[in-house]
C-alpha cells in the first residue's frame, strides 16, 4: 500500500508531437510542491526555458490537482492549469487559471494528480484518459464545433460518467481571450488558445478508482462535519442578507440570500429556501443564489436550483430557466454559471430598456452564457466588457474600424441594450473576424498596442479597473486598501486571490472583524473599514502575505479560494471564529503527512516564491519592484479631490504605498530595493537550486 493517502500517485505526461505518453511518481517528484499550482510551477521551472512563447510546442500546459481533490473535503473541486500566458503583456509569463466542476475528481479517480502536455499534434486531437488507458484520439470531426457539441460527442464515446474539458472555436483559432471548459459551465480563462496551439481539442477523463484517506475514517468523517459547520455561503459570507431569527447580524450585500419566502421558482416543484439556520448542515446548498444576488429578486422565479463542483455544498452556480429566450433568441431556455460567467452578456451593456435588473438584463445573461460558454470566449474578469464599453463610448471603435466594418454592427441595438447584439459580436471574436473581432480577442495589453494607444490611458481610468500587464485588478484597493494593493502586485495576470476579500466582505461588524484580525494577523489594525483607510501597519503586510500563501495553498491542495480560508464562521457560540488550521488538518489526515498550520504555510511559501522566481527568470530581471510590481495611476487619484486617509475615499497615498511595499518585502524576507527574494529567502523556502540557477544568471539581489 502507498505510504501516503490523498495523492493519486501519478503525473501523466503527454507529448503531442511524438504521440507519446508516460507517467512519473507524484510523491517522489512533487510532494514538496503539494499539487495544483505547485506542480505547475515546478514543471515550468524545470522544463520550459525562458524565452519560450505560449504557442511554442515547447510550452507546457499543466492540468494539476492536489491531494484533497476527489475526497470528501468540502470545496475541493478545483483544477489549476499552469502555462505561459498569452494575454500577459508585453511579455508572456507564467500564470495559472482554474476551473471547477467535476474534472479534478475524475482525474484523481483515473489515477492522476496532473496531466502535463507538451508538443503539438500534427492534426486536431483529443486526449482520452480511462484509468491507465491513455490514448491520443483523432479530433478532426470535433474541430470547428463548440464546447457543448464536443462534450456530447466525447461523452457518447466514453460514457456519460466521463468528464470532458474542451475548447471552443475561440481556442482553436488561437484567440488569446479563450477558455477551456468542463461540466457545462466551469471554465478556466486564458488557456484555450494554448490548447488550440497544440491542436488539442479536449481532454476526456473517466476514472473508476478512488482516493485513499490515510487517516482514521471516523476522524476524517468528524473533520469533514467540523469543516462543514464552519461554512458560510458563497465567498464565505457568514451572515444572512436580511434579518433572520437565528442571526445576530445581517448584511444586505451578503451572498447568504436564502430565507423564508424566497423560492426556487423554476424548480420542478417550487422549493422554498427557508431560514437556512447555520447548524442545519443539510441546508447549506440553499443559502446561495448568485443569479438573484447579481440580478435582483426577479431571478428567483427563474431559478431551477444551485449547481457546482464535486463535493462542494455551496452550489455557487445557479441554473436558471428563462422561457422567453427560446422564441426571442433561438437559444435553450436553461443556462447556468456564476459571477463573471453568469453576467458575461449583461456586462457589455450600459443600460437596458427596462432597467438594470429587469427582464432584458436576465435575457442578456442567458444570451451571453449561451454564446461565450460554447464558443469558449474569456472575459478576463470583466475586462473584455469594460474595454468594449470604453472603446465604444469614447469613440475609439468608430475611429479605428473602417467604415464598412463599423456599419456592419447594429450599434443602435447595442446602445438600446438589445441582447441580440451579442450574436453579432461574439462569433467574430471567436473567429478573429474583422478588426474589432480580432482586437477584442487579444487581451487589453495587445489591444492597446495594436491600436497604438498608451497603457497609461487605461491606467488612469478607475472605471476601467485595469491594473497592469494586460489584466484587471482583482479585489484591490477599492475594498482592501494596502493589503489589496500588495496582493495585486504579485502575479502576471489578475491575482484571483480571495483570501482577503472573503474576510472583508463576510458581513460581520467591523469590531468583530478587528477582533478576529488581531488573533490571526497580530493586530486589529490589519483591517480598516472600507473607504476609511489608515496608514500602513505591519499587520497589513502579514495579512497580505497570509492571503497570498493561502491562495497558493488552496490552488495546490485543491481547495476553493473563492470559499476559503475559513477564519470566520457563522457560529455565534464560537465568537464567529472559524479555524485557521482547517487546511492543515485536512491535509494531514488525508495524506498521513502530518503538518501543522505553519508547516503547511511554509510549503505554500515555497510554491509562491517559486512563482516569483519564474517571473524573475522569464523577465530576465531581478528588478521586480520597479519593473513588475506596478501600480496604475488611478489608485492615487480621487475624482472628488478627497485626500488619502479621509473617510469616503479609497485614494491611496504614494509614500504610504512605498512603506507598504517595504513592509511586505520585509515580511517575505525579500530585498527591499529590488523586491526579489534573497538567497536566504530561497533557502528558507527549500529552493536552493533555484537560487543557484538565478545566481548564474545574475538575477539575485
Amino acid at each position: 500500500m502507498a505510504k501516503y493517502g490523498g495523492w493519486a500517485g501519478k503525473v501523466l505526461h503527454v507529448d503531442l508531437s511524438a504521440g507519446r505518453t508516460w507517467t512519473e511518481d507524484t510523491v517522489e517528484n512533487y510532494k514538496d510542491y503539494l499539487g495544483g499550482t505547485g506542480i505547475g510551477y515546478k514543471v515550468m521551472w524545470d522544463e520550459v526555458p525562458a524565452g519560450t512563447k505560449p504557442y511554442d510546442p515547447a510550452n507546457r500546459i499543466i492540468f494539476a490537482v492536489g491531494p484533497l481533490a476527489g475526497t470528501g473535503a468540502p470545496c475541493n473541486g478545483r483544477t489549476a492549469i499552469t502555462t505561459l500566458w498569452p494575454t500577459c503583456w508585453p511579455k508572456p509569463l507564467v500564470a495559472t487559471g482554474h476551473m471547477g466542476g467535476q474534472f479534478a475528481a475524475k482525474m484523481k479517480y483515473a489515477g492522476y494528480d496532473a496531466v502535463v502536455i507538451k508538443g503539438r499534434a500534427d492534426r486536431p486531437v483529443w486526449l482520452s484518459i480511462v484509468d491507465q488507458q491513455v490514448e491520443i484520439q483523432d479530433a478532426s470531426r470535433l474541430w470547428g464545433q463548440g464546447i457543448r457539441r464536443t462534450t456530447e460527442a466525447i461523452a457518447q464515446i466514453m460514457g456519460t460518467d466521463a468528464v470532458v474539458a474542451a475548447i471552443g472555436q475561440a481556442g482553436e483559432n488561437l484567440v488569446p481571450m479563450s477558455v477551456v471548459m468542463n461540466s457545462v459551465s466551469h471554465s478556466a480563462g486564458g488557456i484555450g488558445s494554448v490548447m488550440g496551439s497544440k491542436n488539442l481539442k479536449a481532454i476526456g477523463v473517466r476514472g473508476t478508482g478512488s482516493v485513499r484517506i490515510a487517516g482514521n475514517k471516523d476522524e476524517w468523517e468528524k473533520l469533514i462535519k467540523y469543516h462543514l459547520s464552519l461554512l458560510g455561503a458563497n465567498n464565505q459570507h457568514v451572515v444572512p442578507s436580511s434579518p433572520q431569527p437565528w442571526a445576530e447580524f445581517y448584511e444586505p450585500r451578503s451572498r447568504w440570500v436564502g430565507s423564508k419566502g424566497r423560492t426556487w421558482g423554476a424548480a420542478p416543484r417550487p422549493l422554498e429556501t427557508g431560514t437556512c439556520e447555520p447548524h442545519n448542515l443539510n441546508r447549506i446548498a440553499y443559502r446561495t443564489n448568485n443569479a438573484a444576488f447579481f440580478n435582483g429578486d426577479i431571478a428567483w422565479q427563474y431559478t431551477v436550483r444551485g449547481n457546482g463542483c464535486t463535493s462542494c455544498p455551496i452550489r455557487c452556480h445557479t441554473m436558471i430557466k428563462v422561457p422567453s429566450v427560446s422564441a426571442k433568441y433561438g437559444i435553450p431556455e436553461v443556462g447556468q454559471n456564476t459571477c463573471a460567467g453568469l453576467n458575461f452578456g449583461r456586462s457589455f451593456f450600459r443600460t437596458f430598456p427596462d432597467g438594470q435588473r429587469g427582464m432584458t438584463n436576465m435575457e442578456a445573461c442567458m444570451v451571453g452564457m449561451h454564446l461565450a460558454d460554447d464558443l469558449g470566449i474569456w472575459c478576463n474578469y470583466g475586462q473584455l466588457q469594460r474595454d468594449f464599453q470604453k472603446l465604444y463610448y469614447d469613440g475609439f471603435i468608430k475611429d479605428k474600424l473602417g467604415e464598412k466594418e463599423f456599419k456592419s454592427y447594429s450599434w443602435d441595438k447595442y446602445e438600446k441594450g438589445d441582447p441580440s447584439f451579442l450574436f453579432e459580436l461574439f462569433p467574430r471574436i471567436a473567429s478573429k473576424e474583422g478588426e474589432l473581432g480580432t482586437v477584442l480577442g487579444l487581451g487589453t495589453g495587445y489591444l492597446l498596442e495594436r491600436w497604438s494607444m498608451k497603457e497609461g490611458a487605461w491606467g488612469e481610468d478607475k472605471e476601467v479597473a485595469y491594473w497592469k500587464m494586460g489584466h484587471p485588478k482583482h479585489h484591490s484597493t477599492e475594498e482592501a486598501g494596502q493589503c489589496g494593493l500588495l496582493i495585486n502586485l504579485q502575479y502576471n495576470r489578475d491575482a484571483q486571490c480571495h483570501s482577503h476579500t472573503n474576510f472583508i466582505r463576510n458581513g460581520l461588524p467591523l469590531s468583530v472583524q478587528k477582533s478576529l484580525a488581531a488573533e490571526i494577523w497580530g493586530s486589529p489594525n490589519a483591517v480598516d473599514a472600507i473607504g476609511a483607510y489608515t496608514p500602513m501597519h505591519p499587520s497589513k503586510a502579514k495579512m497580505a502575505k497570509w492571503s497570498l500563501l493561502r491562495k497558493e495553498l488552496h490552488d495546490s491542495l485543491s481547495l476553493c479560494n473563492w470559499m476559503g480560508p475559513w477564519v470566520a464562521s457563522p457560529l455565534k457560540e464560537r465568537g464567529y471564529r472559524g479555524d485557521d488550521s482547517i487546511e492543515s488538518m485536512l491535509y494531514s489526515l488525508a495524506t498521513g503527512d502530518k503538518k501543522d498550520r505553519q508547516e503547511l504555510d511554509r510549503a505554500a511559501e515555497r510554491i509562491f516564491v517559486l512563482h516569483r522566481a519564474l517571473t524573475i527568470r522569464d523577465m530576465g530581471t531581478k528588478e521586480m519592484r520597479t519593473k513588475h510590481d506596478l501600480i496604475p495611476e488611478w489608485v492615487f487619484t480621487d475624482k472628488s479631490g478627497k485626500a488619502p486617509f479621509t473617510k469616503g475615499t479609497t485614494h491611496m497615498d504614494r509614500d504610504d504605498v512605498k512603506v507598504a511595499m517595504d513592509m511586505f518585502y520585509d515580511e517575505m524576507g525579500w530585498d527591499r530595493l529590488t523586491g526579489a527574494p534573497t538567497p536566504q529567502a530561497y533557502g528558507k523556502a527549500g529552493l536552493d537550486k533555484v537560487a543557484e540557477e538565478l545566481g548564474k544568471r545574475k538575477l539575485l539581489p
Binding site: W246, A247, E251, R253, C339, P509
Partner: protein, 200 residues
C-alpha cells in the same frame, strides 16, 4: 436542532411550578414561530388554561410574578420592554436579541423602527441601509409607506439625522448623521450597490 417541546426545564420553585412551565413553553413555541409573546397575551392564555392558582391574588400580579421567576430561572428566556411600557418575551434558543428587538420595534412607532434600524447599522457595521430592506421580511412595509415615513421624519427633530443618499444605480440608501458623515455614507452606498456588483 432544538424543538420547543424538547427543552428541559431548569428546576422551578414549587409555587406556580406548573404555570411557570406552561408559560415558558408558550414563550418558546412563539419564538420558534418567530414571534414575540406579550405579557397581556400570556395573561389571556394563562386565564384560558386555568393556570393561575391563587384565587385571592390579583391575576395580573400573579402572572407578573411567575414571569419574573421564569425569566430569572432560565438562561434562554428574556424580557423586552417596548416604548409604551408593555413587556414582551422571547427565547434565545430560537431567536437572537437583535431579531427580537426588530420585532419589538415593529409593534411600536414605524418611524422609530426605521430610524433605530438605520442608526444601529450605521453605528455597528458601519454602513448605510438600502431602503428596500424595509419592504422585505421581517419589516414587510410597503415601499410607498417607507417613502412617506421618510418625508415625515424629515420634518421631525427627533429624526433629523436620518437622511437618504441615492446611488448611480438609482437606489436609495438611508444613513444616520449621528454615525456616518454624508460623503462617507454616499461612498459606502455606492460601493454596496454598484461597486461590489462590479467587483464580484
Amino acid at each position: 436542532m432544538i424543538k420547543a417541546e424538547n427543552v428541559v426545564e431548569p428546576k422551578m420553585v414549587k409555587e406556580g411550578e406548573a404555570a411557570g412551565r406552561a408559560i415558558a413553553a408558550m414563550i418558546r413555541q412563539s419564538s420558534e414561530a418567530s414571534r414575540l409573546l406579550s405579557e397581556s397575551e400570556i395573561h389571556r392564555r394563562a386565564a384560558d388554561q386555568h393556570l393561575l392558582t391563587s384565587p385571592a391574588a390579583d391575576p395580573a400580579e400573579e402572572v407578573g410574578n411567575i414571569l419574573k421567576k421564569v425569566v430569572e430561572g432560565s438562561e434562554d428566556l428574556h424580557e423586552l420592554a417596548s416604548q409604551d411600557g408593555s413587556r414582551h418575551y422571547y427565547s434565545s434558543h430560537f431567536m437572537t436579541g437583535a431579531y427580537a428587538r426588530i420585532l419589538l420595534q415593529k409593534k411600536g412607532d414605524q418611524l422609530r423602527l426605521i430610524a433605530e434600524t438605520v442608526r444601529e447599522n450605521c453605528a455597528l457595521y458601519p454602513r448605510p441601509v438600502p431602503l428596500d430592506i424595509f419592504t422585505q421580511p421581517p419589516f414587510d412595509l410597503a415601499r410607498q409607506e417607507v417613502l412617506e415615513d421618510l418625508e415625515r421624519m424629515a420634518a421631525e427633530e427627533e429624526y433629523r439625522d436620518i437622511l437618504p443618499t441615492t446611488t448611480s444605480a438609482s437606489r436609495i440608501f438611508l444613513y444616520s448623521t449621528l454615525h456616518l458623515e454624508p460623503e462617507y455614507a454616499s461612498m459606502l452606498a455606492e460601493w454596496l450597490d454598484v461597486g461590489q456588483f462590479n467587483n464580484p
